[in-house]
Symmetry: C2
Amino acid sequence: MNIAVAQSGGPTCAINASLLGVIKEALKNPEIGVIYGSVNGIEGIINDRMIDLKSAIHTNEDMELLRQTPSTVLGSCRYKLPSLSENAEIYKTIADCFKKHDIRAFFYIGGNDSMDTVAKLSDYFAKTGDGIQVMGIPKTIDNDLCETDHTPGFGSAAKYVATSIQEITRDSSVYSIQSVTIIEVMGRHAGWLAASSCTLHANGETAPHLIYLPECEFDSERFLSDVAEQMKLHKAVIVVVSEGIKVEDDSCRSGKTDCFGHAYLSGVGKQLENLVGNRFGCKVRSIELNVMQRCSSHISSRTDIDESEQIGAAAVQAMLKGESGKMMRFRRILDMPYTVAIDPVDAHLVANNERFFPKKWINDKQNYVLDEAIPYFQPLMQGEQIIKMQNGLPVHYRLIGADSELVQK
Amino acid sequence: MNIAVAQSGGPTCAINASLLGVIKEALKNPEIGVIYGSVNGIEGIINDRMIDLKSAIHTNEDMELLRQTPSTVLGSCRYKLPSLSENAEIYKTIADCFKKHDIRAFFYIGGNDSMDTVAKLSDYFAKTGDGIQVMGIPKTIDNDLCETDHTPGFGSAAKYVATSIQEITRDSSVYSIQSVTIIEVMGRHAGWLAASSCTLHANGETAPHLIYLPECEFDSERFLSDVAEQMKLHKAVIVVVSEGIKVEDDSCRSGKTDCFGHAYLSGVGKQLENLVGNRFGCKVRSIELNVMQRCSSHISSRTDIDESEQIGAAAVQAMLKGESGKMMRFRRILDMPYTVAIDPVDAHLVANNERFFPKKWINDKQNYVLDEAIPYFQPLMQGEQIIKMQNGLPVHYRLIGADSELVQK
């Protein structure tokens, strides 16, 4: 039997480690023949664009470099598989590709959209009786997948975010004048990543002084009075905010256009910067951690990378035991010493669902994360990867044939 | 005799290493008594706010942590010392502070403004016959100080910038659609930091595909045709731009106000993003590396940190040999194996002067940095620091009494 694996959705530091887990576990099992890597997620299956991964990745060094390379070496996609009733043809195309290459199992590494694909495809193959197994492997820096303690990629993103906020705190507090620094962190609906910055408090930092999450209602006046209160205590006030909070006066976002006629799409960081500057007239700066928070593998969490590889391997083991339509998930046994079990869960329960940051870990004023959350976050961020460097820069693995950097002729 | 040391200007990853160099060299010399740390640059001398560094920093671990802590543990200032004819009183205040504490030598770690202070103060003490020696120790991520091969702090900033651009390149190229990513790097007048991203080419990257520096005239139409050309070659075009380039159509910057009535201060990255989006309608994103490029000590260059410590020590040695009014500088002997000498140079030659990126290393089209520049940059970025971590995050050293994070009561 042959198998196929694909990567989908937004990049993370850990998604290639999960790919490596699939490859290494498959190599251990002689019944598995070709390991196909599908280029650009499920699109590679639909367009029959695949790479033989056994011949592409074959030295230990290839594997080590793959582990430390951010983003997706196989490329990604944002393709939403239509339902069978909407488009039966596409299911036929996928089945034909699997048949043509004798692919008996498909592994999809991705977020809740990808788990929707896993659920739909496994339902389809259960109906057709083809016996093709479909397995999901989670990933997202947002940590918002249901049914799992956390998601691969999150720990590394949290480590980068907390490390950068600590460094920004040092940077922001050098002058003797009052200042406010607003750091905008990814998370449209779930505030896990912004919330994880609370771990700095366990290392003796007073920053961040305020944390705003999309799980709470945001009120500009209350925000300004929170800032005023912190300004009495700290010369350099550090505010962390999820990109997804809703600033009620969103005149900045609605209707206004810039000088080129484009909608004025300032992020919330910039909006809050304007609010603070307007009210207090003090030095204020907003900082967007942007895509660096999902791709800075040079400071990835070893726990995250190790676990991401393990969960990829576990998906292959589960498939060999006959599972299909499942996503592998982490079940936490203990915070300390940190212990997790990996087991399968129905992908339908994960598909198109979101898991939010628990209210019990947010303070009453809804502007701070309680210390009770620290034991949850801390183990996910611990441990450092030894990164192979060349000329002072990390070495990245690039897969010939899948590299989307060059225009296809 | 006692000595004093202060840190000034914008933070870097290496300025505390230079402070450590001063302290360690002073400790070796029994004739040096108290080592005063002046809080918030020269302002600490003026306001007589100083810390006894020998009693504050006394274990090897303190010193190791100081080396790995970004920004300035003594705080900083942007104070421009007036000329003697403008304000003789301030010189008297400084002299009184030195006299009161028996300070016979003052070390100022900073950029060209600080070297102006070094020049003025040493001229003053030469005239008064007080015999107080004043020495400058360079620092700036901009690498724009005259009379030195490079500046402490630059190598670490360049390492962060190149590492991040490589990771952003991976992140930007996962989808099968055409995209343009514009990365804005610090450098108002000199493009050294943006230019240093050319080192990625030595590691097999085609990115960055275009590099724009403030040393060249910028033309929007030419820029758009450069981008169009690169789009034919690369699916994910990566553009690096110094914040200081002048976009001739600066309607975005002049006059326009946002919805709060503030001037619309978009950076050049955002301006170029708008230009590209408007013309090509493709996916386009601009990323500001912001203060992270000057404070990300978790990926600092060991060469930079080692040299920064050495140049601090060399300033003490030069002072003991009788020098005053000098800045210590690096003189490069060899690119490979990388060899530098450290010697003193007249601070007047550095004060209020700027050193630009050489035209000989810019291509004819003025949109790229030639490979000939790589041997200059590469050694400055090489080598990694082993960072002491706690709970998955770097440990920072904080100096009690100088920490500006708390409001002074």
